[in-house]
Symmetry: C2
Subunit: 373 residues, 2 copies
């Protein structure tokens, strides 16, 4: 019995987008969903209670970072990641593959796995598919990801083909190594770069291993957005209808909507939390760089149409002051707002699917947001 | 009619400490009280709601910092400091004197006031008693402080005498400049360094101006604690019984208790918030430097006897991880705990006064805390 089950509710007659639910050991998640990122066992600046206030049902945490610090054995001793960080809703952990491959000259790939040096202290480490799953099993997230190679963009056809075939062999090894399939759902990752036939090859190979969910990997790695949408258009239809589909690393409001229209159910991205700490808010009328001088005497909320805690209580002028003065509360208030904004957007997207009007919703949203279709 | 009224409730029969209430335009404050410091219009890392959760009734904010950034005119335009920072309970602002005098070679003192250079951009500024009150009137705190000179320690008798006499002349100018005595209570500050006769001279000169409250300034500036207690012992009895007494810049648990025993009603200090951001918690059993390696696998709360949000939900191991990883939540959780700890300590102190057993309470607290009487 898999730990993860996808329940399809309906398909939007206007857009083809999916409305559904993912059942996990830590609750039910309405999809499409955006997952806030809690890299180091904390969604930066937020408490679990605040995440619940804004209706977050699942968060992502990063295996590479937790392996490095504080170490997966420590988290396991603490009773697992949920207990360690005081979060009793669902968690997804990535496999660490993306971070390890991003280390560039600090890593060496072989069939067995990846050797790399720590970004913290330069110490030498080796992660194989088996090791990644051992770490993810220790962390205990509800959804865990297979250890894959995310090919860079651009990359040659030969490189991508070799890489995706190794990713398939690694996916098989991950599945074999997985100790708790009844407690943690292991998702496969489809690679294949920007090559249609390679996406098809990868999808069929990965699906043959029969995972309870599938991610589309290797996108949002520097390619133009239209190319990402094109890849999604021919990749998601290959995936089974009765399993959740996860587009990794995407979190801009426009790409979330475009992804949903192309059949995606789950997203994650550091974007809303990262730009918040830099003083930028996502709003119904586009980005507000509240750090800018023009907001110095602006006593409106970040987003006058928003009803979140930040927007109900604080002005742009005050938040700008906090950001300029490097005050923690500035990062807190904007992070809270940005995550609220994206989770509310996804709630509105789900409602639009329910009403078979997601294309209309996209047009209305983009017009106000100032984004060209 | 003064904005501030002190109501004396009782005197501890065992210790002589005072139990009282301060009535302000933004609520009633039970004394003795500790005031968390919100230097830049925010108690670092905390929301106003969290301050209310831990029962803070009054916070302090710094005139010098707000004058520099974002500027008192901006705060006034925002509707005053309460509205700007979304805090509807009482606020006290210092006069900026302490910060300006701390600038050392960057400032020049004359009878008229102090010329200094900004710590932010080196720009030249001049603060006189009239200017300090103009800024404090614009900020709109419930209690505002006279512009004084806090003499350094050690300092010669001549230096201290000249300085306290100028402080008296400045106090008179502050009183004359104060525009809203019915909305903001202006407190006088007694100086005089570590010289008994000069403390007496200062106290009588300042009391002659008839302020609604008095601070003992010029302590906690580097002198040994026993000397501070000695100065308090001969200074507080000089002050009127029907006005609040404020000891500036004191916030260690032992000094709070010793100060209360010597007749003090109000305290402020950055200590609990500053050490929190550095990974140190105040607990019933003394300081816990949670950053230390020995807490890596310690799954107890910061203070097992504490029932604050942090201690109910998080382990030392998790908080240590957050601190080591420079996560904002680490600073948040320890700050919350440290302020809760001090406010709870003051609540216990008030209860001990009520029961005429503050000396017993001190002995019990110090024994557990590991502090020598």
């Amino acid at each position: 019995m898999s730990a993860i089950r996808y329940e399809h509710i309906k398909t939007c007659k206007q857009s083809g987008a999916r409305l559904g639910r993912i059942h996990t050991p830590h609750g039910v998640i309405d999809t499409p969903i955006f997952m806030p990122v809690g890299t180091q066992a904390t969604v930066k600046s937020m408490t679990p209670e605040e995440l619940k206030e804004i209706n977050a049902k699942i968060i992502l945490s990063n295996t590479y970072h937790l392996y490095m610090r504080p170490g997966h054995e420590l988290v396991e001793k603490a009773g697992g990641l949920h207990k360690f960080m005081n979060w009793d809703r669902a968690i997804l952990t990535d496999s660490g593959g993306f971070q390890v491959f991003s280390l560039g000259p600090l890593r060496k790939i072989t069939e067995e796995g990846v050797e790399f040096r720590s970004h913290l202290d330069g110490s030498k480490h080796f992660i194989s598919p088996e090791k990644a799953i051992e770490i993810e099993n220790a962390l205990g997230a509800d959804i865990i990801m297979a250890f894959d190679e995310c090919a860079p963009y651009p990359a040659s056809r030969d490189y991508v083909k070799n890489s995706l075939e190794r990713t398939t062999r690694w996916a098989k090894r991950c599945k074999d190594a997985h100790k708790y399939p009844d407690r943690q759902g292991l998702f496969g990752i489809v690679q294949g770069g920007m090559y249609k036939d390679l996406r098809e090859q990868s999808a069929y190979e990965i699906m043959e291993l029969d995972f309870p969910g599938y991610a589309v990997g290797g996108l949002s790695v520097g390619e133009p957005k239209p190319l990402m949408y094109e890849v999604l258009e021919y990749t998601t239809p290959l995936l089974p209808k009765d399993k959740p589909r996860y587009l990794m690393g995407v979190g801009s409001p426009d790409a979330l909507i475009e992804g949903v229209i192309r059949g995606i159910d789950m997203f994650d991205c550091v974007l809303p939390t990262r730009i918040a700490r830099n003083g930028t808010a996502m709003t119904s009328h586009g980005k507000v760089v509240v750090r800018n001088a023009k907001y110095a005497e602006d006593f409106l909320p970040l987003d006058p149409e928003c009803s979140c805690y930040t927007c109900r209580n604080y002005s742009r002028a005050y938040i700008r002051h906090l950001v300029k003065a490097n005050e923690i509360l500035g990062a807190r208030l904007i992070t809270y707002h940005n995550l609220y904004f994206l989770l509310k957007l996804m709630e509105n997207v789900r409602q639009a699917i329910r009403e078979d009007r997601l294309l209309d919703f996209r047009r209305e949203f983009f017009t106000k947001y100032g984004y060209e279709l």
